[in-house]
């Protein structure tokens, strides 16, 4: 039962903190760190003692939670990253609604933990819904700007569309087996198995921002940077990848599952890479990169190496989070997220160095943790086929290109003669979070040492794939080419993605437009048509009813008035007349009274006679 504590502690504490109202940054920081530290401790304890939990809801419905190696790793990773990110948020985000923001983030972490430890689809779904709802609230956090709630809604609707897949899978599973246990998926066959498999994949792709759901990640950038960091690094987006990783053992047998996963992942990795290269908005660049990196993970899963995907997820979390935080600091300092207008190298040298550590991971440089895990994915894909490996390597090139571009544009040194501007330089406390994350990614660089990597693999119960040196060399070469492209673009095309065709392409190569044309406009047209039909046909009936009612009312007014008024008024008048007459009965003369009595007696006898 104790395992329930892992999600419940942050959920309850988060809800509590969210309702605290205005508090000092320090207090909120302490509370957040304490809560998440407790969560981390619980996660560690649970992993080490192999906690499980079951909650019998009804005979048919039972919630269960347990650890497998994959989930244990993620369960520890999530609070670890969250501590840094949330602490960063307490120190950097705007004071308005800060307690709510922090509380929701902690709650969000709890929901993620629930997803991680879930051992059946229903428990998973509960956590899934929780983080979905929290993501909406967090993206819409600055709700006073009208765009933000709309962005939140967009993200929410998109992910919910994907959730339909999970619902379908859940219902199919329950219909077939009468329980929600993951284990039941294996025994399925035929269409239901297919429904379960692709439903889950559909759902995971939508959460992970895979094509064609990718655009919601851009809209999600409306949220504060800390939120983006948490969402992209450790929780929401990662949950999509985690889902396929966690369920891979059960879904691998589903025909076409792995191929589809590879197709989605590869497409996303390439499209995301191009988008990232073309993107001029700092956070969107990072968002596109997230899609691309998760695409790598899908590829790894599709290639049959979910453990590699998890490793990349963890590594990705440690470098993507500081990048988002860094972008937030930069945007805050410059007042804009336009990359070519940042160039804050002089103003924020410390941040620039910290960011460089993370960028190295994003770029996949040898020696960085990101580089190691990317190479592992390349090796894994190599087992499926060389062309796949090549494609992944191409994705790596693009990664290197946009990573270079991000670092140089954001923290490059601008010309001295440029117009002076006022920048906000954060204090050292504000940098603790981001620094801690960069430190983590630095530590993870140790994976390049074989013993460390072996022990990590052992802990995750996986086998590291073996790759050919040729491919490794090619990969490194392609990374270098990517860096070169990045440097070239920064130097000669600094405003790439800000104007012209590149700007249009930077928005997911026109995918939102496509969605708009293919889905939204027809739906809108259908809706408008339906509305017109409603106005003309259905409304006519209602208007007719109203008109009939009106007519009836007029009729009632004309004729019923007399009746309805006449009844009470007539009764009143009759009563009045009667009472006047009745009053006249009181003559004061006793012989009249005798007469009444006699009349009454006669009446009584008449009644008795009739009654008899």
């Amino acid at each position: 039962m104790t395992l329930w504590l892992l999600p419940l502690v942050p959920i309850i504490a988060g809800a509590f903190i969210a309702t605290l109202g205005d508090r000092s940054r320090l207090l909120l920081g302490i509370m957040a760190v304490a809560t998440l530290a407790a969560t981390l401790v619980l996660a560690l304890l649970g992993v080490s003692q192999d906690w499980t939990a079951t909650l019998v809801w009804t005979d048919a419905i039972r919630l269960s939670a347990a650890f497998v190696p994959v989930s244990a790793a993620v369960a520890i990773m999530v609070p670890t990253v969250a501590i840094a990110v949330v602490f960063h948020a307490t120190q950097n985000e705007s004071k308005t609604g800060l307690a709510r923001l922090i509380g929701l983030m902690i709650l969000f972490t709890g929901g993620m933990e629930l997803v991680v430890v879930a051992n059946d689809l229903l428990t998973l779904l509960i956590g899934w819904e929780l983080i979905g709802a929290c993501s909406w609230a967090l993206i819409s956090h600055k709700w006073r700007q009208i765009d933000n709630p709309q962005s939140g809604l967009y993200a929410f609707v998109t992910t919910r569309t994907g959730d339909l897949g999970l619902f379908a899978a859940l219902m199919a599973l329950f219909t077939a087996t009468g329980s929600f246990d993951y284990a039941g998926i294996q025994n399925l066959g035929g269409p239901l198995q297919w429904v379960v498999g692709f439903g889950i994949l559909f759902s995971a792709a939508s959460k992970a921002g895979q094509v064609p759901f990718s655009p919601w990640l851009f809209r999600a950038m409306a949220g504060p940077s800390s939120v983006s960091a948490l969402l992209h690094a450790a929780t929401l987006v990662a949950a999509g990848a985690y889902l396929v990783v966690r369920l891979h053992p059960y879904l691998a047998e589903v025909p076409g599952f792995e191929a589809t996963a590879i197709a989605i992942g590869l497409t996303t990795a390439l499209a995301g890479g191009i988008t990232g290269v073309l993107q001029d908005h700092a956070k969107r660049l990072l968002a596109a990169s997230t899609s691309a990196q998760l695409g790598f993970m899908f590829v790894a899963v599709g290639a049959g190496y979910p453990g590699i995907a998890v490793l990349h997820m963890i590594v990705h979390a440690t470098f993507k989070a500081p990048l988002f935080l860094s972008a937030g600091i930069a945007g805050e300092a410059a007042g804009t997220y336009q990359l070519d207008r940042l160039r804050l190298g002089r103003e924020l040298p410390v941040v620039a160095i910290i960011t460089l550590v993370a960028v190295a991971g994003l770029a996949g440089l040898v020696g960085s943790a990101g580089g190691w895990s990317k190479e592992e994915i390349v090796k894994a894909s190599e087992h499926t086929g060389f062309w796949l490996a090549l494609s992944v390597m191409a994705g790596g090139t693009l990664s290197a290109a946009y990573a270079t571009r991000f670092q140089l544009l954001a923290y490059g040194r601008r010309d001295k003669d440029a117009d002076s501007r006022v920048t906000t330089v954060p204090g050292w406390v504000a940098l603790i979070g981001i620094a801690a994350l960069s430190a983590m990614t630095l530590i993870l660089s140790l994976l390049w040492f074989s013993p460390v990597a072996e022990s990590a693999a052992a802990a995750l119960d996986i086998i590291l794939p073996k790759g050919s040196p040729l491919v490794f060399a090619l990969s490194l070469l392609l990374v270098l080419i990517g860096i070169a492209i990045g440097v070239y673009l920064v130097r000669y095309r600094p405003a790439l993605g800000a104007t012209g065709s590149s700007a249009a392409a930077s928005d997911w190569l026109g995918l939102p437009k496509l969605i708009d044309i293919v889905l939204i406009q027809p739906a809108d047209a259908i809706a408008r048509a339906a509305a017109r039909t409603d106005d003309r046909v259905v409304d006519r009936g209602i208007r007719g009813t109203a008109a009939f009612g009106d007519w009836l009312a007029r009729l009632g007014d004309r004729f019923g008035e007399a009746a309805t008024d006449g009844i009470p008024e007539g009764t009143a008048r009759l009563t009045e007349m009667f009472s006047h007459d009745l009053r006249r009965l009181q003559t004061g003369l006793s012989h009249h009274y005798y007469a009444y009595i006699i009349g009454g007696v006669f009446i009584i006898f008449a009644i008795l006679v009739v009654g008899a």
Partner: protein, 101 residues
């Protein structure tokens, strides 16, 4: 002499008494009407006793009670008439038209 004949006589006496009680202006005459009604009642009571009770003495008791009622009615009636006359100088019903709100 049958019970029916006796009761019809009693009914006739009662009807006359009713007419008198309703029609007479004078209090004393009004009381005569009441007495007449009781007269019919008395006759009916005795008739029922004689023809339907096998001589059960309670029938006679009823007649005695009717007579007692007559006496009470008369005594109280005259006392009231005297009292009213003293206060209102009224000896007819119309003389005390104040029995109203």
């Amino acid at each position: 002499m049958t019970l029916t004949a006796i009761l019809i006589v009693a009914a006739a006496l009662f009807g006359i008494g009713l007419f008198g009680a309703l029609s007479q202006k004078s209090f004393v005459m009004l009381m005569m009407g009441l007495e007449m009604m009781l007269n019919g009642t008395l006759l009916a009571a005795v008739g029922f006793w004689a023809f339907t009770l096998e001589g059960a003495p309670k029938g006679q008791l009823l007649a005695i009670l009717v007579m007692a009622v007559m006496a009470v009615e008369l005594a109280i009636g005259f006392a009231l008439v005297v009292a009213v006359y003293r206060k209102r100088e009224a000896d007819v019903i119309e003389g005390i038209g104040t029995m109203k709100q």
